[in-house]
Structure formats: structure tokens, C-alpha cells
Symmetry: C2
Subunit: 490 residues, 2 copies
Amino acid sequence: MVVIGGDAAGMSAAAQARRLSSADELDIVAFERGAFTSYSACGIPYWVAGDVGDREQLIARDPDEHRRRGIDVRTHTEITRIDTDGRRVLARARDGREEWHGYDDLVIATGAVPLRPPLPGIDAEGVHGVQNLTDGAALIDALDRLGAPAPAPGDGDSCPVGDARAPGDTRTADDARTAGRRGGGPLRAVVVGAGYIGIEMAEAMIRRGFTVTVVDQAAEPMTTLDPDMGALVREAMNGMGIETVMGDPVTEIETGDDGAVRAVRTENGRHPADLVVLGLGTRPQTELAEAAGLPLGPSGGLLTDRAMRVRGHRHVWAGGDCVEVEHRLTGDTRHIPLGTHANKHGQVIGANIAGDYATFPGVVGTAVSKVCDLEIARTGLLEREATAAGLQFVTVTVEATSRAGYYPGAEPMRVKLLAERITGRLLGAQIVGREVAAKRVDTVAVALTAGMTAADLTMLDLGYAPPFSPVWDPVQVAARKAAAAVRAEG
Amino acid sequence: MVVIGGDAAGMSAAAQARRLSSADELDIVAFERGAFTSYSACGIPYWVAGDVGDREQLIARDPDEHRRRGIDVRTHTEITRIDTDGRRVLARARDGREEWHGYDDLVIATGAVPLRPPLPGIDAEGVHGVQNLTDGAALIDALDRLGAPAPAPGDGDSCPVGDARAPGDTRTADDARTAGRRGGGPLRAVVVGAGYIGIEMAEAMIRRGFTVTVVDQAAEPMTTLDPDMGALVREAMNGMGIETVMGDPVTEIETGDDGAVRAVRTENGRHPADLVVLGLGTRPQTELAEAAGLPLGPSGGLLTDRAMRVRGHRHVWAGGDCVEVEHRLTGDTRHIPLGTHANKHGQVIGANIAGDYATFPGVVGTAVSKVCDLEIARTGLLEREATAAGLQFVTVTVEATSRAGYYPGAEPMRVKLLAERITGRLLGAQIVGREVAAKRVDTVAVALTAGMTAADLTMLDLGYAPPFSPVWDPVQVAARKAAAAVRAEG
């Protein structure tokens, strides 16, 4: 068993195969071109924010731990060719030497690459991605050099409230750079992209004491939500002192004579920056697979069957951020790079290679995130996704509270629900709120996976007690309204 | 439409029928023997604790509000007979006058009565139930008289840590009574019963500054959990300074010469008490229905069909704490008095009486509760319930964290899962933990309602981000282990 890529999917596959088969039965070699294995890329924003003390905490299992468990991990070794006919891969070691390795089963887990548009200045000093641990470390070093202190750990949900920049502060970015933290002036960060990574990095920069501007060409943040729900996120971000510049594409990263970043220019403005963070999403890293003639889907991700075997290739498997996953509501495939899927893929691949049997049944598009204390969640289909799938539907939006209204700490949340016209089948949910809002989406995720209707959801036996929920859980308040709307619509 | 009982089920039914039909089409009269309508009995422990400022907050809609919406509410009016043949009920007003009222549709929503064993001293001064608002007010008055201050509102999850009684404190209950808060001595409360109400009242008394002892004949608190999970609750309660006296039935409430309570005597001990709270559960209040010849189930609750019509009686409906509900996993009926069921019953009854159509599909036994910051949840069947239903099953228990392990505030939780032997079908879950533990049971509640297996649950697309969950949600960690156990068991 040969694994390409030492992160979640690859190493989960290796570990699961190792658990299920002895060293006599199966040799496992994993190639990783970087230095790290099995780390949590999703944790990087919280490491940058200072919530996670050091890099080691993000590493679930380092190469030596894997080796002790009988997996031959080769770090700093890049696979440069896959030869499926010859069942072998070409590995290039750190010293440049290349060597072929044969396989019985190959696992492709090459992950994704961050989108990095070819803008002027994109490679300037002070422009940071946050894709991997090396990126994270570079950003943290830059923050330290700029004198941005990490907050005390342990209060991941709290952010400074209000704009960190004093009213009437007219100093330029250069002034701020010169002054740094020493002069007490606020440092300015511009985050390019207002999706998950963008908003998480906006939080991180706020917590590091920056004045933060988030720039995106989309009309609202979080295009993984419908625009009406994205607007709630924008309003909340503004309330936290995060400036949002929406509907305004970036045209240039402006640099100074020293080659370092000064500002982000958009079609309509100029946004001074001491630091720029790119949070533009990712694409599947499949050049190697493509060169080997393996099948790619519309987003450029590898296509697999339910056993996570690459379609048409008996001995090649793939999982994690380099594949497209099947959407259980539409039947099509899409690129949804999430650690939770990658881990499941790995488990399925490892079991199958070891002669056991497991399948990955696809996803329903669940995702949760937060910016400071604002929780954001979705599952199923957005309006535009449902329409694109040929579905007709009703949408309802309700306001409800996280606990019984009279119980201390009850927080409002907005729940939007999509249900299919006529049948009432649940198609999607979006939740924006505070305090135990996001994970409520799981209830809808399970219900729509099971093919339940809005009326079914209304009558589900969910946990109720005043500290946890109103008598009707917020998702059931929405479901009641959706069921009524389906009937009214006819 | 005539409604007997002005709380959740009855008034939900009335309100829903009112919404769906005009005053010309339908007359609605609701009889309530007390003074209040539509209040949250589940909120009483938090009102006593001081988390809820006043009684009015617990009242969702008072009689005048209902009247303004076109429902003729008659408080202080008790129904003393139901004549199903004559389609009429006999109402006794406050002044003792009795009058027959005819009906086209009758809704019985008479609720439950607290269990009150015939122990010596059970009616003594200082022995309090917490079934309704009058009970709650009486207890709060007693607390005020004893000089037990309410804590500052707004911190419902925090309790004083450790035993409030100073080491070496050997004063008797009489001493404490005499000293009251003035002498700074701790007041002592004994809570009889260690179920939901008992533990919630133990929290309330702790928050009121009492030294608290909880007494129960069962071996562990929370017999709605398996004993191994109940033991976790007991350990946590002890850690909060709550004394637990388990497996020791109460024999007598000891009173002083003044007739007031002094101690609770059990088979094996004597527990000094300035105040006794009864939290022994309830039984359906169905004497009236029984006298009218309506069908009762094994727990003494009314039996209904899925439209919530009393079985065999076309014009009589029943809902809330006076009925037995169908368990979706076993098909039998049981008494599960919960406000969330009562509200659903009311909605179903009101819709059907108004000529619309709705059904209540039964329950899966979900319940959540907490004592201070310890969250407790269950859904589906306990081991003894599954066995009683003729089911064979595997059980697994796992320890997992509420957030990614590296994220601040990640708290451990214990998740126990029952899955059917051979099929792997989910049968039940129990969760004990802190910080967003309890509501995770909803995921399993939906999954087992849908007939999913442990393997299905493993692969569900649940929300993941480091502040909300590990990559494998705790219920999925348990599901993986359960799926493996099912296969290993064969």
C-alpha cells in the first residue's frame, strides 16, 4: 500500500489499514513532500489567533508516531509521476534523487491548493496564505515582527467589541508600520475573501489587535449561505468592528519601495494594509492524477466510487480534499474540502484495502463556522443550488431563541429552511446566531439525509429543557412554518 | 370545543383551533381549576433558583391574552364529570355552583399529579412539591422566610463548588434553623427523589445557599439512565458538594413540636432538614376520564390514536401529561410527561378539531437535563428497556471532547450507545458531560427515528469546525465503536 500525501485522508487510510492487517500481510509506505503528517489545517486560524498555544497541538500524529505503529513515512519526498499500468510511483527525495516504488494499492491524498489569483503584488512580502503549518508559522512570525501580541488563551469566543481604530485616526499605513505596536497605533490587516477561511482569519486578526477589513467580490460574505443570511453575517461583522468591502473585486496588492505590502486596491477603493491574508478557497490538487489519466470531475477533483476507489481503476483509491464528493440530495459531485470528510474517506479506503468493507455514502453539504461569538451553519442546498438541481421549493425564515425565552443566556438565532414544493421534503437549512446555534444544523442534516419532510421534522422528539431549548426547538419552529408554506403553496 | 385544563396541551389545542377557524365556525371554552394558563412547569426549578426573576416570565399567555384571541377561558372552574353519551361536562365554579356544558369536541388535558407517598410527616410545614406555580411561589416564600438569598441572575450554569457546610460543623438542624442566615450557618435541604426534578431542585437549593442532600431508593440518580451513566451523575453531584444517599428508601419526614420539618428519615439514616423538596415524579391525572369510562394504559394514562383522539371515542381528544405516548422503537405506550410533547399534542388536536389534519407519530424517549454545569441526555431505549422489548443489542461507551482537543474550552463527555445485534440498528444513546453535550443527543434521536444503523451514523455529514466539534463528532466516535462491536458480536 502506497500513500501519496501525509495528512488527514492519507494517514487515516494508512492507520486504518494498519489496524486491520498485520505487517506480514501489508506493507504501508506514505510519501509526504512536506515535513508534517496528520495535522489540523482547520485549526490554523485559531493558532494564529493565539487560542492554540503551539503548532504541536495541531499535529494529531507526527511521522515518528506513525512509524512506531508500522507505517513507513517518508517526509520531504514528493511523488512526481504515477504509472498505473506499471503500478508504480516515481518518488523524488529531498536530495533530488528519484526512485520508482511499486504498489498493490495506491492511495491518492494530495489535498487542495489555495487559490492565488495572478494579481500584481500577490507574492509581495506581507501577503500570507494559511493553507498549511508552514504558512501559519510564517504568518505568526510576521505578526510577532509587527509586534501584534497574542491574547490570553482560553477565551476563543470573545473578541474586542467595536472598531479598534480610534475615531479621527488619519495616519497612513506607513505611519502605522513605523509606529507598530510601540507607538500604540493600530495595525491594519486586509483579508481577501469572505468565505470560511476569510471570516476565521478576520477573527484571528481582530484578536491580534488589528483593524481588519475583509474584501470580496461577492455581494455578501459567506457565499456558502444565501445572500439574505450572508447579510446577517456582514452586519454582525460590522458590529464587531470588522470593515466589510463587498461586491468589489481586488485588482492589485500595492507594495512600497521595500517590496512589502502597503494596501489592497479594489475596483472601487484602496485599503491600507500592514498585512494581507488570502482566504480565497482552494482547488483540488490533481495535476499528478490528471497526468496519469485518472478521471476528474467538473471542479477538477478525482472521481471515485462509493468505496473511494478511483473510477475505472481497481488499484487506485483517493480521498480528502483532492476528490469530489457525491451530494446525497442531487446525485452530482462537488469539491467540498473538509477535514471531517477526509477522515471518513481515509477510514473507508483503509478498511477496503485491508480486505474489510466500507463505503462513503456522500455528503449533504453541512458546514459550521464562527466569527467571534457569531455562529454560522448550513446543510443541504442553498436556493441557487436547489434551483440548479431542478428542484422547486418553499423557503421560510424564523427568529427563535437558543433556550427557553425566560432562561438566562437565551440568544436569538435566525433559521432558514428550504422544503420541496408539494412533497415537503427537507432540502436545506441555514442558521446564523449565537450560543449553540450552529450545531443545531446537525438535526436537519440527519433529517434530510433520511428523506424526512418539514412536517416530520416538526414532530421529531428532540431534547427539551429550559436551559437547552424552547419547547419547540428553533429548527422545529422553522419546520412548522415550512410545512404550512408547502401546503399553502400547493 | 371544550377544553379541560388550561396548560400546555389544552391551550395549544385551543390556540391552534382558533387560528384555523373563525369565531362563527367554532366556539372555544377552556376550563382551568387554577388561576393560571399556559405556564412552563419545567421552568419552576429555575425560578426557585433565582435564574428566572418572576413568575410572570414563566407564563407564556395568561387568561386575558387567550380571551383577547377569542378563547373563553374560565379559571377557578373545575370539571367534575364527563358525560360522553350526552356530550357534556359538569363544571363547578369557585362559588360551588355546578353547570353542564355541551360540546361537539372535548379535549382532556388534565395533566399529571406529583407522586406523594403516604409517609408520616409528608404534609408537614416545610415539605414542598414543585408541580405548579402555586407550589413554586410557596417554596420561594419559604426560602425568603428562611433567609436564603437568590443569587444574581444570569449565571444559570455556575454553582458554588464544594460542600457549603464547613468541615467540623456539627450543629443540628435546629441550630441551623435558629441561626438561619443571620448566624451564617448553612441551611439544609433534603430533596426526595433523584430524577429530573430532584436534580434540578438540588441545583436550585445549592444556588440558594443550602447544603443539599438528595435521597432516593434507587442505586444511582437518574433512573432514566443506565446505572453506569447514573453513577457519573452521582460523582459529579458529589463534586458539586451535593450529598447523595442512594439505595435508601425514605421512611418518615420527622417534624418538631411546632409541626415543621426537622429531618428526613430513611431506612439507614437520618438527614437533618430545614426544608424538604419532593421530586418523585408524577402520574397521569385521569380520575375524571376513568370515571367516564375512557380507556387507560398500563401507567394510568389515556390511550389515544395518532390523531390524539381517545381510542374509541370520536369526539373526545386528549394530550399532554394525562396521556400515554407511543414509543416509536417498541410500539408500546408509556407515560412521558414533557412540555414538548404536550405542545405537539395540542397542535395536533387543534388542527384536527378545526377540520385540518395532523398526527403525532410517537416519541423515542429523548430527554435532556442538567445539574449545574453537568449536562445529561438520553434518547431511545436503556439497556433494561431494550431487553424488556425483546431486543438483543451491543453497548459501547466512549469518552470524547465537545470541541477539537486543541481548542480552548474542549470538555470531555461520555457517550453510551446501544445498537441492535446483527442489524446494527441504533436503539439508544446516553450522554453525560459538560458544555454542549446534551443537545448532541438530538442527532441520535433523529437517526434512530429514521431507522439508521450505527454504521449509518458514522458516515453522517455533521457540522465540523474546531470550536464546535472534533473531526469525528462524539456521537460518531461512539457509532464507529458500536458498528465494530455489532460485527464482532455477529
